[in-house]
Symmetry: D2
Subunit: 176 residues, 4 copies
């Protein structure tokens, strides 16, 4: 999950207090390229260099703000992570394909966020446009479903996002 | 459901025999326009003049042929009914949002097809391109969700497609 | 949505501050009776007398607490509203069938909660056991899908739950 | 997929002709045990001895007959494979969690049925009762999600059902 906190609407103190009080609503988006038949041909994963120099890969992720619609949060985080020209195709169905629950305790669900209990609504989002990663991401790489499910790629994902990626591949019928 | 039989792969006799033996696999697509947030803003309904001069409205519908993928059938019928420039966005999820079962007995499920027992996989399909109805359809009209759910429009749909249209509106969170 | 605040884990002040800071995670459950084929035969609606003496009907609803799983919250609220012998069948799919967003502004989405911005994960939950409403509910009444969708019943639901009930009926293929 | 043909409603000749003409509608059910929170705790797999003495594992599967509802076919095949006391919980949502397409060509989709092109609607079906395999199945074994996804078990499934089983595990959030 994203490590940049969004403090524009909440002070750090308020955010800490909130995290100590209630679960936080998140959205996550697995960016994909699709062919004319609707088959997923590529999965987009952000690259980020951790403080120890290791590279981790992650999907689009972020908090839903007070007063913000889930759809608005999805667009905002896709634009934040993929750039303004990505043209994300937000699904017509308001229901996520799965719900993932992150906890500070890494063993509770296998989805781990040291900062907070987050309830995350996860969507597969086709993107048609040009993607250029913004903010702290180094790059955005596109993988075939087979590559994305390989140990080489899955092994670079943390906090349970490796599992989440495979759930997404299964959802679109592309789990190898 | 469509009234033009596709006899290119099956003779009429073979088709009759088949309909007397097994349920037929159908796909149906509710064509929609969406905004940047993924909200459905318009629903496309084909117009057709019946033999008695009345107008009925219907969604995209047709049979899955032997050897044909469900995704291929969806694209083929969208192109057949909406024209080659419609650019249908076939969903990434292979599962339909609902399954509807048509029977010659109109009371069995409320979905009625006098010709056959059909098991229909129904999808909501965003279309971006220019739609121009082909074949026997007179026109394609686009309605807001409120208009599509109104008695004026719903009242022109038959065989249970009025109900199916409302299921689709509910699926996208737009049932008035 | 429920009007009894759960203050066991949060003081009133903390709850107010939280509601002024972030969206709140809710779960809602539409309790149903099903037959051996999985068809919904009855929908359960709670009855409550409002301060003006009017009766309103509502579905099971409540907040997800810090550290609580969505599944645990679903069971807890079903037991709270339907009694300890209801035997709710929590769905195997962690994804809700729809997501509904409540706002203090009644016009923003049509789903209205004067107290807060709530993101609600909504499930259809078959119940097999004996239901006896607890807490402030007067009664629990079971309606056929046709009755539940009728103006007499829908007209007694507020805050958008009438619409939500119809989305649930559509989801199970039972919208009249 | 099942190897016993159901000839009660169709002669062998008619069945052959039908298979040479149209895709056949199938239902498949992944039988599961669930706990009170709706978590899948066990997956049931049928055991069958092939003609070469090898053991293969498979899920509940069978054809939808002319005039038969999908729900009726699901119950019939669950009773056929799991016995009359299995008490299958057919889902309230008529939509399958995925659609799988079997072809005589094993490479077309990876789902292989040498006899026919089949369009299969796949459901996860909790069963509460006593299961005793009937017909040609040797036994029914229950596996934890981790066991079911292991090479030892997956390796005994053929025709793509190994992949289908993993899609089912992903759907219920239990893919290891």
């Amino acid at each position: 999950m994203e490590t940049v906190t969004e403090t524009s609407w909440l002070s750090d103190d308020r955010l800490e207090l909130m995290r100590a009080s209630v679960p936080v609503v998140y959205v996550e988006a697995v960016p994909v390229r699709v062919d004319a038949l609707g088959n997923v041909t590529r999965i987009g994963l952000l690259l980020r260099v951790a403080s120890d120099g290791s590279i981790s890969r992650l999907i689009v992720s972020g908090r839903v703000k007070l007063g913000e619609l889930v759809r608005e949060a999805l667009v905002r985080h896709c634009e934040k992570d993929l750039g303004p020209l990505a043209l994300p195709r937000i699904p017509v169905d308001p229901a996520p394909f799965t719900v993932v629950e992150y906890f500070p305790d890494p063993d509770k669900t296998g989805y781990h966020d040291p900062r907070q209990h987050a309830v995350s609504l996860v969507y597969v989002v086709p993107v048609d446009g040009d993607c250029e990663p913004t903010q702290e991401a180094l790059d955005l790489a596109w993988f075939t479903p087979a590559e994305a499910a390989s140990r080489a790629v899955i092994g670079q994902m943390t906090g349970g996002q490796d599992r989440l990626l495979r759930l997404a591949l299964a959802h679109v019928g592309q789990l190898p």
